[in-house]
């Protein structure tokens, strides 16, 4: 294990102070915080952040980014998430697509997409899940057929968050038929323009009635050769490493923090002994999980690949996000109503309704634990 205590440098402390000051002005007290990275899609906020240099931080300057460290990104992300900032528009492109482009993309693809991502203007969705393909991604059926100058893609992707607002998605599909005993071979990632002819996006209403998920049906969608991401046939390896990028950041343990803060604001200083226990317990665990997550960011900057550590942080962090909701529900002793006029109870209602997704998105708890357990035994 590589979880080492890590101290922030004066420059990192200064960055954090700057973000805090910005957020205090931008999101005044009383604003309704978003819960987690997918909480609210707000292109204007994304652009404002980008102007500050807080989008595309890991992207090198030659592609319009800022070449910052994983720890710098961590610090900005945790401030945004703790404040409940609406970062849903750019977050996935920033966290996941940009590193994939940097690792696997062509020079042309990098130049085409990265500056827009860093500007907070180009948004990506993920194109992995299908009706019959969830954790077992190797079973995807969407297929691409070779045509003059590129591919035509046909198939259906589901649970595609924000496809109706985003610009592109990286589609995992089969570019050659299944070979006996090599089910991971023959898969590739293609970057598909969500506004291309043949792309049909229809909402899959979220359990709280909101529009977040989509079904994206692809019918003979033409994808030019230059939109193949990485090597043909390496889609599986790329996607699994892509999952690793997104594992252990603050977005995996801070989604419900604003609910706790607003509960405390409502309760005030005179909490009961029982309430103090709830608050202290959650705060203690928050601190501990944060330190684990920060140490993974530091290890990444040091050039290591803490895959098992990242899986552990995501597992413990996402389950904690859910535990927090239940602890506050028990403490609050109230009937929940999303339409409540008071901030805390309506946030808690939102959290109860959305928190089951935390241990599903980006790799279910069960899959993560298998990954981590194999690493522990090694």
């Amino acid at each position: 294990m590589q979880f080492a205590p890590t101290v922030l440098t004066p420059a990192e402390e200064a960055l954090r102070a700057e973000v805090r000051e910005f957020l205090a002005a931008e999101l005044p007290a009383g604003h309704r915080p978003a819960l987690g990275f997918a909480g609210r899609h707000d292109p204007e906020f994304s652009r404002t952040l980008a102007e500050r240099g807080w989008v595309g931080m890991a992207i090198p300057p030659r592609y319009g980014g800022h070449g910052r460290s994983a720890v710098d990104r961590f610090l900005v992300a945790e401030e945004l998430l703790a404040a409940g900032a609406p970062i849903g528009a750019h977050f996935v492109a920033d966290r996941q697509t940009a590193p994939a482009l940097l690792h696997f993309g062509t020079e042309e693809q990098r130049q085409r997409f990265l500056p827009g991502i860093a500007a907070g203007e180009v948004y990506f969705s993920l194109g992995m899940s299908e009706p019959d393909s969830g954790s077992d991604l190797a079973s995807v059926r969407t297929r691409a057929t070779r045509v003059e100058g590129g591919w035509t893609v046909t198939g259906t992707k589901v649970w595609t968050s924000e496809a109706h607002r985003n610009h592109f998605f990286a589609v995992l599909c089969r570019t050659s038929p299944v070979e006996e005993g090599r089910k991971h071979a023959g898969l590739s990632q293609l970057i598909v323009d969500l506004s291309a002819p043949g792309v049909r996006i229809s909402p899959i209403p979220y359990l709280d009635g909101s529009h977040h998920f989509n079904e994206v049906a692809l019918e003979d969608v033409f994808v030019p050769d230059d939109m193949v991401l990485g090597e043909l046939g390496s889609g599986w390896q790329q996607v699994t490493s892509e999952l690793a990028y997104e594992r252990s950041g603050p977005d995996r343990w801070l989604s419900t923090f604003p609910v706790l803060r607003e509960w405390l604001r409502e309760r005030g200083a005179a909490v009961s002994g029982e309430e103090a226990v709830v608050l202290g317990r959650l705060a203690a665990r928050f601190r501990a999980i944060r330190q684990l997550s920060l140490s993974v960011a530091r290890a990444l900057d040091g050039g290591s690949a803490p895959v098992v550590e990242a899986a552990l942080v995501k597992d413990v962090g996402t389950r904690f996000e859910q535990d927090l909701v239940e602890a506050l529900r028990e403490a609050a002793e109230t009937e929940l109503d999303q339409g409540s006029r008071s901030l805390f109870p309506s946030l808690l209602a939102e959290a109860v309704l959305t928190s089951p997704s935390y241990t599903l998105r980006g790799g279910t708890t069960e899959i993560l634990r298998s990954v981590a357990a194999k690493g522990l035994a090694a």
């Binding site: 101290v7 004066p10 140490s295 552990l312």
Partner: protein, 365 residues
């Protein structure tokens, strides 16, 4: 980890590996004591790590002492390591009192305890004193004439009633009934040496022991489930068992890092926020990991010979000593509530604090 601390950890690990085997730990349960282990620890100066050399200690800082305790926890060491140095030794040294030759213990005020100092007459009833009957002296705080005193109460003058924690470690009740103290047995307590500070040190020490024990529990469980075959394959290959392994690893790492940060931030003294959070997190981790490791082990874990039980029984004891997770959560919660909603995130996101410019690098032995 500093180079000094790495060496300290390595040397201590070697010592415990030789003198504190699972067999030694079982053997020590009858009396709660291993003279062989304690002599070796004393010879190496380990019990007095973090007590200044000029006061007769071994030097080093709180983080060094916690690194040692983490090793001790890993080996389920039956020895009052924390009580002698980090707690009792610290208080005596701060008050300018002499350190005794043998083990020290400490009382931070269990419910029902009473301490009375009138002139040099000392009466006290102290319960759940770790290795109380084995110690040369017990350090307690007493108010007298509007002043607070550090008392180094001679165990020989007390009536001892033996008690045990769940791991059969001595937790004794000592009674002094109007005993005359010698001059060198009490002194005014300097600022900062009070019940709250002792309790913080005790909680940090127990959290460090828990972190060490959890690391070993994690190793044992990975090893056992990798070897144990059922249905024709190692049980670690079953997803349900893997979930236990992952849970244990998470809790062990979470507690370990919380303790490291609290210990490293103690320059020179541990802070309330760090320790309250670390002890609360470690106590919760102890509960979760002990349960998961026993489940993953099956019946072998329920036997006295197998190492797991030595660790889990300590986890179940240490989580309650010097304040349970509920106690520290409540204290922490009240503090955080008083600071207000907008101060909550800054408190949570305070981790390891940078080294002050003038930090003295002490040696440890």
């Amino acid at each position: 980890m500093s180079d000094d601390r790495t060496v300290l950890t390595e040397v201590a690990t070697g010592l415990f590996r030789d003198l504190c085997t699972p067999g030694d730990v079982v053997a020590a349960e009858a009396t709660g004591w291993s003279e062989r282990l304690w002599s070796a620890l004393t010879e190496s100066g380990f019990p007095l790590v973090s007590v200044p050399e000029e006061a007769g200690g071994s030097g080093g800082d709180v983080a060094d002492a916690c690194a040692l305790l983490t090793v001790a926890g890993r080996f389920a060491a039956p020895a009052p390591l924390a009580e002698t140095g980090l707690l009792g030794g610290w208080a005596l040294a701060a008050a300018g009192l002499e350190l005794p030759e043998g083990p020290l213990s400490v009382a931070v005020g269990a419910p029902g305890d009473a301490v009375e100092l009138a002139g040099r007459r000392f009466s006290a009833r102290l319960s759940r004193v770790p290795w109380g009957g084995r110690s040369d002296r017990v350090v307690a705080l007493a108010g007298s004439g509007g002043q607070r005193f550090v008392v180094s109460a001679p165990t020989a003058a007390a009536t001892v009633t033996n008690g045990r924690n769940l791991a059969a470690e001595p937790r004794d009740t000592l009674v002094w009934d109007d005993v005359g103290l010698p001059d060198d047995a009490f002194a005014p307590a300097p600022p900062g040496v009070d019940g709250a500070a002792l309790r913080l040190r005790g909680a940090l020490a127990r959290a460090a022991l828990i972190a060490g024990a959890l690391a070993r529990v994690a190793e044992l469980t990975v090893r056992y489930t990798g070897e144990r075959q059922q249905f024709g394959r190692p049980v670690a290959r079953f997803q349900a068992v893997q979930a236990h392994l992952v849970t244990i690893a998470e809790e062990a790492e979470l507690a370990g890092l919380a303790v490291s940060v609290a210990a490293l931030n103690a320059r020179p003294d541990p802070s309330f926020l760090d320790v309250a959070a670390a002890k609360a997190a470690a106590g919760e981790a102890a509960t979760i990991a002990a349960r998961a490791s026993h489940q993953a082990h099956g019946a072998i874990g329920m036997t006295k010979e197998y190492e797991l039980g030595q660790l889990s029984r300590r986890l179940w004891s240490w989580r309650d000593e010097f304040g349970s997770e509920r106690y520290w959560s409540r204290e922490l919660g009240h503090r955080l509530a008083a600071a207000g909603a907008d101060a909550l995130w800054p408190s949570i996101s305070t981790g390891l604090v940078s080294e002050p410019a003038s930090s003295p690098e002490g040696s440890f032995a």
